[in-house]
């Protein structure tokens, strides 16, 4: 890292003084600290997922092309997505922590040396704008190319992810891919805001006194200063004698997504890589237990991301509805009506129009409700300012619905791991008979109640959040101001429950044969 990229100390200190972090039980006290501080802790979690990714690529490219019988399609579209929402809801961003894409980092560092100089990520893209474009493209491709039904395309999607991680982090500083390009990671970032854990400073005073900020910039630790041998260091040298609970000597990188521990107010952009834990010489990083969604009521994105992040939150909430609606009858009626009205059989055109309508409609509705809420509260600010105040309400709504949707698929097919693995070996000549009767995790009658309960739980959090924001920013007048957003919350929840209650229809039967 160059000197010019470092955040000036006075700003860091001011941010530290302004920091707002939950205070709660430190999960690292449960014996996890020693594991996390181990240099190869992340690798130990990444390797199993790397092996699974390689297996999925192999089976996707060479195995049976029937989606429910292939490791690629079942692991990506069924198990990964279901487990992801469960882990986000009860732990935190564990999938980013164990992300195998980051194992390309060694190769990207070697390739980086071949470059005359490393490029700088364009300042106009240092937000979530590119991600918004990529997300829309991804959701369109998902529907248009039936990614869920194609092991071959799913395998290429995984390869594409590895290739993109390698390419971006070779050409640009490490962490650029995670923060500005990775769709999966950013989905996790957005909804890790619902998680009951957060990285915090165990004692903010220690951070204020800390000179080099190793959790941000990294550190190097040896028994003797490298300067004595004329060697350059990649980060500040902190002698071994100064380190509390030393976890070895060498280079310990800091936060690649540029988060400074005592100022972390949100799980946004935190990959749970725990570099900060290893880099901190004073053992001052905690994994604090907090109420789920604690940060939503504290406007955590005011300093980092602002409008781009809010558009991502609002977009994901409404795209979640559309993604699930594409599996119920009324969606097909709408599509067929639209196709007849426009006299077209172009699925791309119809999908593009639907995405545009839902994106603009969702954003317009949320902004209008937020603006009206501000007006009722006596504020005459801009619609954007209103959206930045109230937009957090879409986070519990979005997570509640994505969670219910992914849980539905997970609960209907999680144990299919067994027959899919059996089928893989059968496909390659082993005398194993897959037992396809093993599929569902819970009785079918439980699926709707579980999904509805998940939605209801996060709707209750959205209602609570709306009330908190109203009373926080408008005092007694907040009782009136909160109503437009409460109505939006209830409408969203009603639509969510209605979608979950519809009989499912499988994608791929709308405008033409997909078999």
């Amino acid at each position: 890292m160059t000197g010019s990229e470092r955040i000036p100390l006075p700003i860091i200190l001011r941010q530290a003084q302004d920091s707002l972090q939950p205070r709660g039980f430190d999960l690292f006290r449960l014996g996890l600290r020693r594991l996390v501080r181990w240099r190869y802790a992340r690798l130990a979690f990444q390797l199993p997922l790397l092996l699974l990714a390689l297996w999925a690529i192999f089976d996707g490219l060479t195995g049976s092309q029937l989606a429910p019988r292939n490791v690629a399609t079942t692991s990506v579209w069924l198990h990964y997505r279901g487990l992801m929402v469960i882990v986000l809801a009860i732990i935190g961003n564990a999938f980013c922590a164990a992300c195998p894409l980051m194992l390309t980092r060694g190769l990207s560092r070697r390739l980086e040396r071949l470059l005359p100089r490393q490029l700088v990520w364009p300042s106009m893209l240092r937000n979530k704008a590119l991600l918004l474009v990529l997300l829309v493209a991804y959701f369109l491709a998902y529907e248009l190319f039936d990614l869920w039904a194609s092991p071959w395309l799913t395998a290429w999607l995984i390869i594409g992810y590895f290739g993109a991680a390698l390419l971006v982090d070779t050409l640009f500083p490490a962490g650029t891919f995670c923060r500005h390009v990775c769709l999966l990671g950013n989905f996790n970032f957005v909804y890790a805001t619902a998680s009951p854990t957060q990285i915090t400073a165990a004692d903010p005073e220690v951070c204020r006194r800390c000179e080099h900020k190793p959790c941000l910039h990294g550190r190097e630790t040896y028994a003797t200063p490298p300067s004595l041998s004329g060697r350059e260091t990649r980060a500040a040298f902190i002698p071994l004698s100064e380190v509390t609970n030393a976890n070895g000597q060498g280079y310990f990188p800091g936060c690649e997504t540029k988060l400074f521990v005592p100022t972390i107010a949100s799980n946004m952009d935190c990959t749970y890589c725990f570099n900060c834990v290893r880099a901190c010489p004073y053992d001052n990083v905690a994994l604090t237990v907090r109420p789920p969604g604690w940060e939503w009521a504290h406007s955590p994105w005011a300093r980092r991301g602002r409008l781009g992040l809010m558009l991502l939150a609002v977009g994901l909430a409404f795209w979640g509805l559309l993604n699930a609606m594409a599996m119920i009858g009324p969606y097909y009626d709408t599509v067929q009506w639209l196709a007849a009205a426009l006299r077209t059989d172009s699925e791309a055109l119809i999908l593009g129009l639907l995405f545009a309508a839902v994106s603009l409609g969702g954003l317009g509705l949320t902004t209008a409700a937020a603006w009206l809420a501000d007006r009722l509260g006596g504020l005459r600010g801009s619609p954007m300012a209103a959206l930045l105040r109230w937009g957090y309400v879409t986070l519990p709504l979005g997570f509640g619905f994505w969670g219910a949707h992914y849980l539905f698929h997970f609960l209907t097919g999680a144990p299919s791991t067994l027959p899919v693995v059996q089928h893989f070996f059968w496909y390659w000549g082993f005398d194993i008979e897959p037992n396809w009767r093993v599929a569902r995790l819970v009785p079918t009658a439980w699926l709707f109640p579980i999904g509805a309960l998940f939605v209801a739980l996060y709707t209750a959090l959205a209602v609570y959040l709306t009330m908190r924001i109203g009373l926080r920013d408008f005092g007694r007048q907040g009782v009136l101001a909160m109503w437009p957003m409460l109505i939006l919350v209830l409408l969203f929840a009603a639509l969510s429950i209605w979608i979950l209650a519809q009989p499912m229809e499988m994608r791929g039967t709308v405008l033409g044969p997909t078999l």
Binding site: L61, T62, G63, S64, Q65, L66, A67, P68, R69, N70, T73, T74, W77, L78, L111, E112, L114, L115, P116, D146, W148, A149, W152, L153, W156, G163, L167, T170, L171, G329, Y332, H409, F410, T412, G413, S416, H423, Y427, E433, W436, R437, A439, R440, T444, P503, M504, E505, M506, R507, G508, T509, P513, T514, L515
Partner: protein, 134 residues
């Protein structure tokens, strides 16, 4: 510059070398030599019970005494499969009476037969369950 050129070249070569599998490739069908397995539905596929008929022959002659299971899967991973055992109506003719489509959409039906000599025969048929106007 060199790195960019290498990456671009690798990408182009990789993409050019790989083509999607042709229709029906890797469809999990697997038949011992001389054995045929035909799958036929009793009626147009719809969300209802639609018995499935399986005809098994070896070298053109009906093959009796097989144990046949019919499985219906949707094209999306994670949907509960429909599994029904077939009974033998006549030598080489089997029927799964209880087979029921429970959802509109694209399905593939797999007939898996354990033959009397212990061999396994697997055949796959794709069908589309259409929506029926109320």
């Amino acid at each position: 510059m060199l790195c960019r050129a290498i990456c671009l070249l690798a990408l182009v070569l990789t993409l050019a070398a790989c083509r999607p599998p042709p229709d029906g490739a890797g469809a999990a069908a697997r038949l011992p030599p001389g054995v045929t397995v035909e799958i036929a539905l009793d009626a147009e596929p719809r969300v209802a019970t639609v018995p499935v008929n399986i005809t098994i022959t070896r070298d053109g002659a009906p093959l009796a005494g097989a144990t046949v299971t019919v499985t219906g899967d949707m094209t999306h991973a994670g949907m509960i499969p429909v599994v029904a055992a077939a009974t033998e109506l006549a030598p080489g003719r089997y029927r799964a009476d209880a087979f029921a489509f429970d959802m509109v959409g694209d399905w593939f039906i797999t007939a898996e037969a354990r033959l009397p000599n212990g061999e396994r025969a697997v055949a796959v048929k794709m069908v589309r369950v259409e929506r029926v106007a109320p």
